[in-house]
Amino acid sequence: MKTRVTVNGEGYERDVEPRMLLSDFLRHGLGLTGTNVGCEHGVCGSCTVLLDGEPVRSCTMLAVQSDGRRLTTVEGLACDQKLHGLQEAFTACHGLQCGFCTPGMLMTLLPVYNEARRLSDDEIREVISGNLCRCTGYQQIVEAARQALDEAADMADSVETEA
């Protein structure tokens, strides 16, 4: 079935078997292997991508259902060899060990970062509650998220002050 999607700003058109999950389509159909696949039944959150700007699990969606929609994957974060603020913060705070859950964590946090919302640790934990990490014990992920979100909010505040 003919499926057209925009992924990280680039248009793709592919013939897709209806039963193919969006997660497999991204990895095998488009070669975007940054999206990791863990449980494949909507529990672990590692395959989280943005669908029209909102986090969704790409393993609980058929690729054909994304026809005409706009997707963002972890490959869309870094720009011109420069890491995204969230990626910088995860690096600085050791917010990852094996790194398997990291793309999902980053994509789940991205809309909050873009909105420059300052969140408490409890709120951060709720935002990432649908993402499992089996290495870190979450503490450093929460610290990384807090650092990135605070920076984004500071930046938004300073722009507002200048204006």
Binding site: E17, R19, D24, E40, G42, S129
Partner: protein, 297 residues
Amino acid sequence: MPVKPPPFEYVVATSVDHAINLVSQDEDAKFLAGGQSLIPLLSLRFASPTLLVDISRLAELRAVSRAGGVLHIGALTRHSDIHKLPLVKQDAPLLSEAAGWVAHSQVRNRGTFGGAIAHSDSAAEFPAVLLAVGATIVTRSADGERRIPCRDFFGSHFQTALEHGELLTGVEVPAHDSSTRWGFSEFARRKGDYAIGGAAVNARVDENGRCTQVRAGLIAAGPGPTSAEGLDEALRDRVVDETAVSEAVTHVVGHLNPESNVHGTKEYRRAVVAESLRRALRQAFDLDPAGTDRRTA
């Protein structure tokens, strides 16, 4: 364990009638909306339909509107919309609160209200809320429209009153007014996971603070979405205080038969449901002025 869906045909429905027509003609066909329950079931090979009819692009099923004292919520309204829409917050605050407890943000952004109700999971939030508020389920099939009171809709073990080829198109919820009181409480190991137990309470009080009607839907309290039997008889015509709440909870919980599973024994789960009901009743009848229970998982 296979983790890829089996092969099936896939059609994007262009209208409600188109969808109903396609599904009616094939006894192994299913409707697909947000897919947050159905697609995992396909991946786990618990379901193997021959045809999936995708209704998720039918804008006519997405509207939320108020007419008189009734809020009509289209089946394709997403959990995240139920949680955030000002109209739902104002007219169905219990539903709006409960939507924040449905799974995690990634699921709430895709999952649909109608899908969650048709799935009829005993551990799900929306069926319990509908039982508490006395909602009406609206469906359409080749035979026309049906309006089913929710107490006649939910069965045990994912069964509902829906016939094959009958599509849940929306739900009618009585709008909240100044005499309505509500409470919601749920417990899970990780917030957003399926509940170990929970309760949604909807009550009406008169000008003297006396309870004139109360209903509760219980979460993970039995083989299907469960009404709190005997609650209304226990509290009606009383000014509800701590003693009344305790008596009512004891009375209701005696009827319950939750199933033991990996998350806890029957006895433990019954205790969690009882405590959830107690907390939800205390919220509803203003016995919890700090409101601290509300967001405590």
